[in-house]
Symmetry: C2
Subunit: 152 residues, 2 copies
DNA sequence: TATTGTTATACTCTATAACTATA
DNA sequence: TATAGTTATAGAGTATAACAATA
């Protein structure tokens, strides 16, 4: 029996923590009658308009999947496709007023709940955790994650 | 301009982290030809057998949703339903050998990738963070999260 | 030819409601 | 009656492949 290395144990904690956050996301979404994916879309679109290709990259979705997601969100009146670019192929997706409102409220509520969960951490602990996560996130952006590459 | 409180900043980091881990989960799953949900099921089932009701609680899923998930995993030969309880209504879901292997490999790979991302932490830091996260997770279990309750 | 976005198709995932079988 | 699990149904999310329109 070898000892589990600290990095490994931390990785496992992060996975569990992730499942918890996912749950908060889903539960909060239900209160606004949107799915977690729709919520994520709204949050990404807050204060910006993006084309389908950009969106699909930022959400890690195939463009065809995104078409459906945007359709559903548009049908609910939370976003619209705009075709006012020079390039007439392109469309930009923007939030409606209602969509903006929900994006803000949803984000506020998720943050609030998570804040409660981490509430009894000391400020140093909180800061430490934040900076570690920041490092993880930064690392992930640098390292492409060898997505499309075959198992070389 | 008021300062953003540490808890709030942490909350936002958590959300981003979650999306990253979700992505790692999905991408790794694809390499084993399983969905993230199936992967999570396999991981929960590793070294235990659970009934549908227990499973549905631990995965935050309706029992009917779980029925389908288990069906699909069973069809792929990764798990089986067993009916060897005293209570003849109950079934326990257990991994097959192949299921176990995939559970281990998947878990190994996900942990490995995350470990890489947090790799350059000192062991003490790593350990501290793990226990901080453990505290958050424990807190979440205690506090039910007022799921079914109306907005009182 | 390359790029932007959609359509067609086939699965998977999920919840709600109604159900069966056992306790 | 209560509990364990399933079925029926409807909708959402996703990827692959083929496509249309524009550049």
């Amino acid at each position: 029996m070898t000892e589990t290395p600290p990095g490994r144990r931390l990785a496992e904690s992060l996975v569990r923590l992730t499942h918890l956050v996912e749950h908060v996301f889903a539960e909060t979404g239900r209160r606004y009658d949107i799915t977690p994916q729709q919520a994520q879309l709204l949050c990404v679109l807050h204060h910006t308009q993006l084309g389908m290709t950009e969106l699909s990259r930022s959400l890690h979705l195939e463009k065809s999947s995104l078409t459906g997601l945007v359709n559903r969100v548009e049908r609910r009146g939370l976003a619209v496709r705009r075709r006012d670019s020079h390039d007439r192929r392109e469309c930009r997706v923007a939030l409606t007023e209602q969509g903006s409102r929900i994006a803000v409220d949803f984000h506020e509520e998720v943050s609030g709940r998570l804040e409660e969960l981490v509430g009894d951490l000391a400020p140093e602990e909180s800061g430490q955790l934040t900076s570690v996560i920041a490092r993880v996130l930064a690392g992930a952006e640098t390292e492409p994650g060898r997505e499309g590459r075959p198992d070389s």
